[in-house]
Symmetry: C3
Subunit: 106 residues, 3 copies
């Protein structure tokens, strides 16, 4: 039970990846992973108003956070800061941390 955590996944444009990961860190996320991700978004097109339609300009950012509240806090800040201007989708799912004693070790 105590090993339960949330994984938050943010798929968005590469140009804001660093700013998004800073939000995750400031919210107390203990780590994150960034993967290059081609794809197509929910708006029918994958491009934003201000950028090229380069098909490799998306990233998938994943972070493990403690609970739903932390996931929501990150999602709200990312959406309010960036999703007027950049496309993105965010979702969360339940995970079970394996060997959490290792995970929490300094």
């Amino acid at each position: 039970m105590e090993n339960r955590a949330k994984k938050i996944v943010i798929i968005t444009e590469k140009v804001i990846a660093e700013k998004v990961t800073r939000i995750i860190e400031n919210a107390g996320g203990t780590g994150y992973t960034i993967t290059a991700a081609d794809g197509k978004g929910s708006r029918g097109v994958r491009t934003s108003d201000h950028l090229s339609n380069d098909s490799t300009s998306n990233v998938k950012i994943e972070a493990i956070v403690a609970n739903t509240e932390q996931a929501d806090r990150i999602a709200n800040e990312v959406a309010s800061k960036f999703f007027e201007d950049y496309s993105g989708i965010m979702y969360a799912l339940d995970v079970e941390i394996l060997r959490p004693q290792k995970f929490q070790k300094p």
Copy 2:
């Protein structure tokens, strides 16, 4: 509750990636992500009959769909069309869309 969705994951050969994503779009999937994925499949070898055994020829395709029925429809079409000839594995999992008002915005 209304924010619940399914994530479908399809790991298969790169050569059919475009055809698979077309199936996702035709089934009403609102977006997808493609990641290059090295790996090894459930058949012991990762290669297909007709292709090289290039270790980087696999892709991981992820899409968010509304529910199990939509995930099954996609899986059935992908399997029946391609999995006689190409290797692949497909699974689904529950996700919670964060800030769905953004997700559904045009």
Copy 3:
């Protein structure tokens, strides 16, 4: 019900990727995927004592296993063998195999 499985995710340093996947295979995992993953770990820094701090030296290894016991067995072996010397995080989550008859086919 019979289609339920566990996905185990291991994010660790690239240099031990091959040894980790061997553990997965020896434990009966039917396949795995490796993705290059930039990121930042739970220890504040992503680097290990013995390696460069190259920001692309991490990998995300995913495998589908039968159940929690198999996931734990893999996690215990990976952690005890490598996580004194290498950074890493491991978690598991529930997935539903789609079209399992295809998945199990030889």
